[in-house]
Symmetry: C2
Subunit: 627 residues, 2 copies
């Protein structure tokens, strides 16, 4: 491609993602504790859109009477939330480099546990993107049912916008997200307050068919309560994101991150309890085409502007919640790559100083997932919490080990709280696995070990490759040795002259080579012609003419070089003459023997192939060749 | 891409088109005079499927009474056919290298005329493919009306098969085409014979609505007759193809080609006259969903197995007629490219010894054309004959000049016949242009000069480039001069050691360079680290550390090289170390700095960039680096 076209494509891309950034400029993009809410807490906050619903869906099978269990189950979940918030405040202090469960496990629990944490987090992040966007679109289609048929395209469009914003960089994204986040928090707390204060001001029920079974399909059992509890735990996903992303905060980082964590815990707890009280009071059950949250808002404020405004806000913040993963996974990918568990390209920052490979991988994985489940949130929920809770368990267990090891003041106290958290979250993980296995959790049971296996294989490769390349050791002295330079020419011309000049500059041992195609019935003998011309020119190096009856010129040259190497055991430098016109459109008119040849020669370990470019000025009236 | 993947794709392609061929093997694939009918005459023979129809469609607007003019008009066309056959026998003798009108014009009429001939032939060949395939599918849908809705996909599928056959090589194609061609010729002559012998054995008329106007829309005028004549001349397209493809025949080439030309003229003339007599006798008019040929066959033999068999045969041979163009255009493209009128890639034979670029170009152009007209033959007919008849006129005029110049025995006699042919075909061309301009002929009026302009521009470029490259002159002596070798390294490792070794083999003037990215808040100073390691290694060349705050490593290196070049005005050889794992799947795990860098350095005229590959054996348990 010509530089013109390259320039145009690059220009268009820069228009989308912005110009290259200095690392220093990015540090100016770091976030405050309040900005931490839109940047890293939306995942957790917005899980009120599907957490309570998940509880009600489970309980509904036991009939309307079972719905009074929503409130006690929610209280249990909020207690677990408090333990997690406490725990992650410790993680923030102990691991300010970010990485959350992965960093804690690596520091305290060893290789296997850190691989497990890494795999669980990758699964978690991918599911968060898919669930958040799908739930956002579900909220939209609750308000505007005519859009329901376009669910998957809308999901993918939102994913594309979020991906692009993140390729620009998270800092500017976080600032853009602050307003809708605040509207969401204030609006939803207001809805809850209105519902609690005006308990009799009930509005008309919404359209949609009740999905409540007319009679109980199942008795209320311990298993059912456990299932409802574990389903509701999906409301806790995202609590870990702040601890994973500490490096994104302004200094003093740890203090700001801790403040955000507490803020998140308080708001999320309030919302969950408030919604549970209202759901209980108004006997909210599952309804077709209506989310539980949408029903509660509709009953509280009626189906007026407030309802539609709130629905739209929820759609927006849910879509933005997907952003939490885009803040977390690329950083995690960078850590995993630096630890040789992922390809090193995941640790490379692009022009905008973001880990572009991680962003693209997350976009592709979650896009495929949304297409696979047709944008249906409830089909993802069973998969969702397992990864998160595996991470919770590992980080709490890791912290217990950490306290035992470092023994700071009051370490026993801390260890007991974290130990309790570890036991509860481990129990929840096991309940998820047991109750949701056939509903989709088996996917996670396959995916997590698959990622762990991938990590091990990659790690083993890098260890071997590092040893083979002598990384970390001082290599021997360089050993110069004679090099043979071969120049493949197609004619006697100035590009050939230039390439021969270069060859003679580099070595005294230069051979020119050309391919003559023998075709029956052609006029003259091309092999003899070029030999005569060469003799007349007499540039110094000998010309070897390779005759062939096939049309490929690369094959005979490759065979000749192989033979030379077999005979002389020398390094062979191949200099391919090429004329490069100054206008991109003229490059189509050149034959591309140089590209064909350099492609064919690539990766032969004893060949160093280079094109010797020669500018051809053909624009306008002057035509000359520049050396 | 790894060699494994490359091998798989190449293997699949070879399965489709066959293994590489020697030029000699292709000459064995050359054709006899009878094989010349399927290979080069199907275009002309099959024009009986749309030529008579075109006459009838024009005359029909003047009412049923005007249809008696079909026979006299056909007789006039057959006389013109005789002149053309005589004329092209001369062309075959005078220009055995092929190229037809283009070669004759180049030899006798100068640059502009040969460009005109080349452009007209390209348009002609493209239209032939589109018209033949579309007419073949029309014949199929006449017999099986339910397929009518899939017209365009069927057209494209047939095009794909023909393209693939031609990428395999025409010789094997010609042999495969012989049987259907013979069935077609014998079958259609038999249909005509039956029609003529059993004039009273008329079968029931076919279904379909008559498109005959109930009253005359127009009087029979000279203009109408001229329009009908020129429309019917579409039956003569393809007569030139044998002369264009003389090199495809076995020796003695000219004699065989002349035989084929006469054979073609006799069969085509017989068919046209026979069909005209039957159409006149049976008052065949236009009918919806039924071609004229289909009606005649139906009336002659009834709607039994013979009708369906013949319909299918016509479909097949029409589709194969498109092959005539695939025999002609790539050869013409090769001639034009050798004369510097088209990109040189059109003169390059691929592994199967075919001009693959010409084949692909023809496939794409005609595919687009068929999609544009929805596979409707009648929308292409107005465009069709202009290019062909321009070629006829040019080649006859060229022959007149040729006879005047060479003066062989009886040259006056020959010149008079060719002169008559030139006048008649020129008149026909002008009538086409005048009568069909608004119906689509304007496309040709734009396309032909556009191609001519393209030829001129390309020719000018190659002249300039040839001068600039000193083609045809003996260049000066090569001038060796000192070269600076720069080795960009990312770490102290064995690949770096190897690249430095190579650099020292090539020059005494070696500089290593590395990029250190400064990011605020990172641990340590990567610039100092690598400098210390370098000092401990002490390989000889100095290490230049380039600090940057951006993430690109290519930009600082490029800036450094530009600066070096500005200071020292030397050629700079850049040797990029790269470790190449032996398994393709491991290559994903390497960072691709080498590719990023060599892409960025490409086409800087003073830089010769080469990757120094180093095999990394990591498969199985042994891991070593091979020099």
């Amino acid at each position: 491609m010509g530089s013109g076209e390259r320039g145009a494509a690059a220009g268009l891309w820069q228009l989308l993602v912005g110009p290259p950034l200095r690392a220093r400029e990015v540090s100016r993009e770091q976030i405050s504790s309040v900005q931490g809410l839109p940047a890293l807490s939306l995942d957790a906050l917005t899980s009120v859109a599907y957490g309570p619903e998940a509880i009600i869906l489970v309980l509904a099978v036991a009939g309307a009477g079972a719905l009074h269990l929503v409130l006690p189950i929610t209280i249990a979940i909020v207690v677990l939330l408090a333990i997690l918030v406490f725990s992650y405040r410790q993680v923030i202090d102990a691991y300010p480099g970010g990485g959350g469960a992965y960093a804690v496990s690596r520091g305290n629990l060893g290789t296997r546990a850190s691989q497990l944490a890494g795999a669980a987090l990758i699964v978690d992040y991918t599911l968060t993107v898919a669930v958040s966007i799908a739930a956002g679109v579900a909220s939209l289609t609750s308000a505007y049912p005519s859009l329901a048929s376009a669910t998957v395209p809308i999901c993918l469009a939102i994913l594309a916008v979020i991906t692009l914003l993140n390729l620009r960089g998270l800092g500017s994204a976080a600032r853009a997200f602050l307003l809708p986040t605040m509207v969401f928090i204030v609006g939803l707390l207001a809805v809850i307050a209105i519902g609690l204060i005006h308990p009799l001001a009930r509005h008309a029920p919404l359209p949609g068919v009740s999905l409540m079974p007319t009679r109980a399909l199942e008795a209320v059992s311990v298993l059912l309560v456990l299932k409802a509890f574990s389903a509701g735990c999906s409301a806790l996903t995202g609590v870990e994101a702040i601890a994973n992303g500490v490096p994104l905060f302004k200094r003093p980082r740890q203090r700001r991150a801790r403040q955000t964590e507490v803020l998140l815990g308080a708001i999320l707890g309030l919302m969950l309890l408030g919604l549970a009280v209202l759901a209980d009071r108004w006997h909210i059950g599952p309804r077709s085409g209506q989310t539980v949250l949408s029903q509660i808002i509709g009953v509280a404020v009626g189906r007026g502007w407030a309802f539609y405004g709130m629905s739209l806000t929820i759609t927006v913040v849910l879509a933005l919640a997907a952003n939490t993963s885009f803040g977390g996974l690329p950083v995690l990918g960078g850590l995993l790559a630096r630890d040789n568990y992922l390809p090193h390209v995941y640790a490379v920052r692009d022009d905008r100083q973001v880990f572009a490979s991680g962003i693209w991988s997350l976009a592709v994985l979650s896009g495929v997932l949304m297409i696979a489940v047709d944008g249906n949130t409830q089909r993802l929920i069973p998969l969702f919490a397992i990864g998160v809770f595996t991470g919770f368990t590992l980080s709490q267990t890791g912290l217990v080990v950490h306290w035992r090891r470092t023994r700071p003041p009051r370490w026993m106290h801390r260890a007991v709280i974290n130990g309790t958290g570890a036991v509860v979250t481990a129990a929840a993980t096991i309940i998820f696995l047991g109750t949701k296995f056939t509903e989709g959790a088996w996917v996670v049971v396959i995916a997590v070990p698959a990622f762990m296996l991938l990590f091990s294989r990659i790690h083993r490769y890098y260890q071997r490759a590092g040893r083979a390349m002598g990384l970390g050791t001082i290599p021997g002295r360089p050993r110069p040795r004679p090099s043979l330079v071969v120049v493949p020419v197609v004619d006697v011309s100035r590009p050939a002259q230039r390439a021969i000049s270069e060859a003679l500059s580099l070595s005294d041992d230069v051979i020119a080579v050309t391919v003559a195609i023998d075709a029956p019935g052609q006029d003259g003998d091309p092999a003899r012609d070029i030999q005569e011309e060469w003799a007349r020119w007499n540039p110094g190096p000998p010309l070897k003419v390779l005759r062939t009856e096939y049309s490929s010129i690369a094959d005979p040259i490759l065979a000749f070089l192989d033979e030379l190497h077999a005979k002389r055991q020398e390094q062979i430098v191949v200099l391919i003459p090429v004329a490069v016109p100054d206008r991109a459109r003229y490059r189509l008119l050149q034959n591309h023997y140089d590209l064909v040849l350099s492609n064919a020669l690539r990766d032969r370990p004893y060949i160093i192939a280079a094109r010797v470019p020669m500018s051809l000025h053909v624009a306008g009236d002057e035509t000359r060749l520049e050396d």
